[in-house]
Symmetry: C2
Amino acid sequence: MSLLKTPKGTRDFSPKQMAIREGVFKVITECFKRHGAETIDTPVFELRETLKGKYGSEGSKLIYDLEDQGGELLSLRYDLTVPFARYIAMNKISSMKRYHIAKVYRRDNPAMTRGRYREFYQCDFDIAGPADPMITDAECIKIVHEILSDLKLGNFVIKVNHRRLLDGLFEFCGVPEDKFKTICAAVDKLDKAFWKDVRQEMIAKGLDEKTVDKIGEYVQLPRSNDLVEKLLNDKDLMQCQAAKEGLEGMKLLLKYCDIFGAIDKVRFDLSLARGLDYYTGVIYEAVLEGAELTKSSDPSQEQIGVGSVAGGGRYDELVGMFSAKDTKVPCVGVSIGIERLFSIMEARAEQQNEAIRTVETEVLVASAQENMLEERLKLCNYLWENGIKAEFSYKRDPKPLDQFQHAEKSSIPLVAIIGDKELKEESVTLRNTKTRKEVSVPRADLVKTVKDMIKSPES
Amino acid sequence: MSLLKTPKGTRDFSPKQMAIREGVFKVITECFKRHGAETIDTPVFELRETLKGKYGSEGSKLIYDLEDQGGELLSLRYDLTVPFARYIAMNKISSMKRYHIAKVYRRDNPAMTRGRYREFYQCDFDIAGPADPMITDAECIKIVHEILSDLKLGNFVIKVNHRRLLDGLFEFCGVPEDKFKTICAAVDKLDKAFWKDVRQEMIAKGLDEKTVDKIGEYVQLPRSNDLVEKLLNDKDLMQCQAAKEGLEGMKLLLKYCDIFGAIDKVRFDLSLARGLDYYTGVIYEAVLEGAELTKSSDPSQEQIGVGSVAGGGRYDELVGMFSAKDTKVPCVGVSIGIERLFSIMEARAEQQNEAIRTVETEVLVASAQENMLEERLKLCNYLWENGIKAEFSYKRDPKPLDQFQHAEKSSIPLVAIIGDKELKEESVTLRNTKTRKEVSVPRADLVKTVKDMIKSPES
């Protein structure tokens, strides 16, 4: 039947997947809270105007619009950054450190096996408000470092660059100012495309070959943190104020990353550009190693990362775009994309054949006799009222074996058995599902005994 | 500026509201887990076809459609029940107990002060699969009882009725079968409208006065659990098989509610109908007392509840609507609407002037001297690496008073102060924000001391 599917690029989460997903969220939330962030939530859709002109032409094409059913024109949120800027401006907030974990929507070409969906989670951490240079930028990088380390997904690299440096470089190479953004978008493709193709794109966008090849020289320089010092000694380039500012910022950023113990994963990368229009300063992107794919045409050549799992940067102008008086609230932030992390963890759980419990039930209330339904309900209710997680068969007279098998299948550690004997004695027979040992417990001691047995299941 | 708003009927959640919201979710999730439920998630939009024909004509009008941007036709989910039924059918699941907490969307007339929004949370608990009569239905009612008791929002009533009984009653009163659903929808308005208006609607829908007045006699009977026995003795009504089945079911349900200790809040109410088309058996709705509003026209008259905070029922046919072979998976469930609960708790927090912390920061790293930024970063990093929630001023040389005031304002319990003296001694001065007492702690003991002081803040 055609009906039986989720929309293209989306998926359901099964209980097992939810258990893994909640584990990932826990690590991320703990990190955000460790850094003193509070949390907010915003609606899943915004006024279409709010999103308009914020993502560049390539991003805007991917926005989901709601049908005009009368009233306001609405669109689904494309990220959590623009809604955050709208929130800051609307509430006239001058400084805030917040995290926001929620789904965003992009009508992109889905590649679900590689973790690219049309509905996906973003876990955002942002700092709005005045700060001295590079301090908050470095904290965002530190956060990526902490989360990717805590999730134990293998080695990773956090590429960093600076939009001012890119602007300076473009100026220095002779790109006209009105082409900075489109050339920046072309550079951004370097992680997925060969230089020769990007070069062709730049020429098609109206640059002359000399300019393009000069850009090529720089963006193809070997990625390394030493490059910052080297470029600071490039006297020609240093004539350009923007490039100088960008490089000096980069130098300070690397120093703070070193203090934060994060420098081992940070790599200055002149070819990192980031797609979105709103960045104004430092930009960064984390890539998992071993999650690199080969560029399509020739597998023996150049390696490219499709494993981007976090990204962000500084956006000092975005809040001002929502403010009547052009009030500036400088911002910097990072977004963790969990779908890919989640795919890796799911595959790993499968590989290691991990038994993931999807329920937390502690006691199954059972009986081997008929006509015990009401007694089972009473006992289960008693356990619930004492804060014990309990369930029972929904059949009036279930078979004993079915009940025990259910306890084993669902890894319910204890079975509380009642029958005529137990009722007469005012006791309950407690069966340990794992060891199959049974003990008789007076009703009055039941709650305490269950709690003790849950705490130390081996005794 | 016109831009600075959220769409009609929606809102942002501030950090304080989030803290309250998370408290409500915790109570609800704990209850669902105590009853052995696992959780799933589904996309925020479904194929339009999936939702079509599931909510009746009044519901369908409120569905948000996405614009046709090429590809599938999509709509935002209207509830979590239909996506659950789609999930069950799609994955060929024969039995499942699941909860799902997520936002749903209705283009309704918003009444935000009364907690009615266009984007709102539902917290759903459903049991799919075979069960002997009324056992799982009673468990759903028990769950409402537990959650509303645990949230301590004052007195409440859980109204219960049975769709089969309503069908039987309509048949008995002479309503033609093809009008059952529309007459049911009219009865459903009785909690918001006067009988004389509902009566008029039924006549407009083509019933004769005699039939309508006979329905009126029944649906206006005083609400009480004794009414079940009374109606079972109504020999004329008992001629009708559907009414008899409904009443006998109701009797069994009330017995199980009694065993579950929930009967004190349960009230049989023949005028409860529930709007949605898909119910086939028991239906219920919880109303907070004191949350009753007066019907518009005459404030001195009849009281009506607008305080519905939970509702649900049995829907045995819905999964079958998605199954090629019309496989039946009987289901029963309940949905807790938290917006209203949340409004009440928010108002209460405001009234009691409760100080709600929105961050969990334990230590503010501070200095009274200049040129201590790098040392502050180092110390903060050391605390983070030891799992302590810490922050620091983003200014290079912040004023001491500003730092202490920030700690007080954000209720950060400890301030770790460093200066030349501390660096030389390899110590840190720990200041208790509340008592303003300061102690000097060797660096080597810092983590342990902080953890101890957080555990027992008064010592």
